[in-house]
């Protein structure tokens, strides 16, 4: 504030210049001057505001011209309430993810609605219920559910009947049919498409069987558990007419779309290194999920569970915490690296790397698991002069972020996106020297939900930006990315188009993940022979 005081000294000018003295009701010249003495201060302020605005405009225009970034927010396809024929869906796998997917589809479990309503009453800040009820209608019906654990199968049926998104006392629709064997569901004539959220070891087989029967597939990541399965599934989908979507809902994140524009416009200069990370530090984050009290050999179809993998006696741990074993899961590579990788594949189209070298171990969660809890992979793309480095830990949640590093600038990418010029950039050298570009301030900043994107963001806005943003935005509205990803898939089915995370992207995702897993398990560097399409 103090720097402005010198502009305020003009108020004391009118002193004793009061020649006329009609002092009573008529306003004297002296009164007039003293009354208006401070008006010039407004002029000074107006001038200051004008100067400041001009400076900001100058910076913004200079930086925006330099980066050539568009000013508006990205405008991806947003489907809203679905039109066209009602699609008939089957759900295969109703565990943690399956329940989330059904909710995103528009079929919440009634108990979830109860608990959200209750929370909203207790805490007006909790707007999950309100947001959820605003989620567009996808015009689908759930006709079948399938889960190997009876309790979950029953819950899936209850959710499937909850077309009206009601609580436990609400009006329910028709109950979907429960299937013990997924192939029976795939054979049913009242199923057009399936959402698959089983453990990884069942992914390929179920998706292949669905494709062969012409049923559209939304498949959770990792797409497959082995390299062989990856080829088989690709063939099956390519030889069918189905619409296939792999569950990397990050594809719908608005900041990624803006990031892609920055990459295309070469804002970062030559990119040689990308850092991807996972940073978790909780039992749940380390896949030590709770075991249901009613779980047992008589409520779980264990025989079917282990059908496509190695034999093992009944184990509740293995059934509920399957991600911890190679027999069923794909470890950090398939589970979390794939999300990170897919985001880079989305914005930079990197494809399958030439080589992978991984390391790590079971360092913290010594609970009998076989998959590592600390895991590093280096992927090389010699044709692009690029290394992509992934580092994941399940024993520290220090956020190391996702960083794309170029010679001229680097990009911090998450729900928000910031680009900072490198102090030794060639491209921006002149503007850095002139003080137009400041390396410690972003040259480009994207914050979801703002009314626009800006080259110049205040420190305060920066501070608020990164706080707990779990949703992406469409037209300033909060939306669940999983919902958008499913909506894109359904739209693809209705219009006979392949969605963003189609089988080709899935193939790249799976091969990339498996290369690192093979490298880790066989303790060697693994290569991709692009010509012969072989992992060597």
């Amino acid at each position: 504030m103090s720097d402005k005081s010198d502009q305020n000294k003009s108020q004391e000018q009118p002193k004793n210049n009061s020649p006329k003295t009609n002092k009573k009701n008529i306003i004297s010249r002296r009164d007039m001057l003293k009354s208006l003495a401070t008006v010039p201060v407004l002029g000074a302020l107006a001038y200051g505001v004008y100067r400041k605005q001009q400076y900001k405009k100058f910076l913004r225009q200079n930086i925006l011209t330099e980066t050539d970034m568009s000013h508006g927010t990205p405008s991806p396809v947003y489907f809203g309430n679905a039109k066209g024929d009602e699609l008939r869906i089957g759900i295969i796998g109703y565990g943690i993810r399956g329940e989330q997917l059904m909710r995103a589809l528009g079929f919440p479990h009634p108990e979830t609605i109860d608990s959200w309503k209750q929370s909203a009453v207790e805490n007006p800040q909790d707007k999950r219920y309100q947001f959820y009820m605003n989620q567009p209608d996808l015009n689908v019906v759930v006709n079948g559910v399938c889960d190997l654990f009876d309790v979950r199968a029953k819950r899936a049926m209850e959710a499937g009947a909850n077309r009206n998104r009601q609580g436990t006392n609400g009006k329910m629709g028709k109950m979907p049919k429960k299937y013990r064997r997924y192939t029976d569901m795939l054979d049913a004539s009242d199923i057009d498409a399936v959402i698959v959220a089983t453990p990884d070891h069942w992914h390929a087989q179920i998706a292949i069987d669905a494709a062969k029967r012409g049923k559209h597939v939304y498949l959770e990541k990792a797409m497959t558990r082995t390299v062989d399965e990856t080829f088989q599934l690709r063939d099956a989908v390519k030889n069918s007419n189905i619409t296939f979507q792999l569950g990397h809902q990050g594809r719908q994140t608005e900041s990624y779309l803006k990031a892609e524009e920055a990459i295309n416009k070469n804002v970062l200069g030559k990119i040689n290194l990308i850092q991807l990370t996972t940073n978790r530090n909780s039992a749940n984050g380390a896949w030590v999920y709770p075991i249901h009290p009613e779980a047992g050999p008589d409520t779980i179809d264990w025989k079917q569970f282990i059908e496509p993998t190695n034999n093992h006696s009944f184990s509740k741990e293995r059934f509920f915490r399957w991600r911890c074993w190679w027999d069923y899961g794909t470890g950090l590579a398939g589970d979390l690296l794939t999300h990170e990788y897919d985001s880079i594949n989305q914005i930079m189209h990197v494809g399958i790397p030439k080589s992978a070298m991984a390391s790590g171990g079971v360092y913290f969660w010594k609970d009998g698991r076989t998959v590592p809890d600390v895991y590093q992979v280096t992927y090389d793309y010699p044709d692009r002069d690029l290394t992509m480095f992934y580092s994941g830990t399940l024993a520290s949640q220090k956020d190391r972020g996702k960083v794309i590093m170029g010679h001229d600038a680097y990009m911090d990418l998450g729900q928000t996106m910031q680009i900072y010029a490198d102090p030794n950039s060639t491209k921006y050298e002149e503007k850095i020297n002139k003080g137009i570009i400041k390396p410690d301030l972003p040259i480009y900043s994207y914050v979801p939900g703002q009314k626009g994107v800006d080259a110049v963001t205040s420190a305060t806005e920066q501070y608020f930006a990164g706080r707990g943003l779990l949703y992406t935005y469409r037209g300033g509205r909060r939306v669940d990315t999983t919902h958008l990803h499913i909506a894109e898939w359904l739209h693809g089915i209705r219009t006979n188009k392949q969605p963003s995370c189609n089988i080709d992207r899935g193939f790249e995702e799976a091969i990339t993940a498996h290369m690192s897993t093979i490298s880790y398990r066989e303790n060697r560097k693994v290569y991709w022979d692009e010509k012969n399409e072989k992992v060597i």
Binding site: N8, Q11, D31, A37, V41, Y463
Partner: protein, 161 residues
């Protein structure tokens, strides 16, 4: 009203008027800065509230229509208070309004022991912060009025008398 006012010595009047102008400038520019920033909203500030009234301030953000009203009141309230102080126009009302508004800011972000804010500050505060001092600056301007001497209040209240 208080057109009679107190008689100040010249240097007393000068200091008080300068103080009024500084405070006015500060409020007016805060309002203008918010007005010209298309992304500004009081919502993140309210969300960041701490202390014993945090729940109340945070709850205000849950209603988008109410938030719009709060934003408009903040912007135009600050500008009106600032203009009033600079021009010496309805100075008394401007000072009281300013005290009310700043008290809300203080209560939403009291610098208490063990209460931390995401909002960065440029200094170190314990119980007393900039906002509290500003409240008392306005209190000084309220009890030592100057608008009736240097300012439009001189005309306004002269006319009516």
């Amino acid at each position: 009203m208080d057109t009679k006012g107190s008689q100040y010595k010249k240097h007393q009047l000068t200091i008080l008027v300068v103080l009024r102008l500084l405070m006015g400038w500060y409020c007016l520019y805060e309002g203008i800065a918010k007005l010209i920033n298309p992304n500004w909203s009081a919502a993140p500030y309210l969300m960041d509230s701490g202390g014993f009234m945090a729940g109340f301030f945070q709850s205000l953000t849950s209603n988008p229509e109410l938030m719009q009203v709060i934003d408009i009141l903040n912007i135009w309230g600050l500008m009106a208070i600032g203009l009033g102080l600079i021009l010496g126009f309805l100075t008394r009302i401007a000072s009281i309004a300013g005290i009310v508004l700043l008290s809300l800011y203080y209560l939403s972000h009291p610098p208490l022991v063990g209460v931390d804010y995401a909002l960065p500050t440029e200094g170190n505060y314990l119980w007393v912060n900039k906002t509290l001092i500003e409240i008392f600056v306005l209190a000084v301007l309220l009890v030592f009025p100057t608008g009736d001497k240097i300012g439009l209040d001189r005309l306004v209240f002269k006319k009516s008398s």
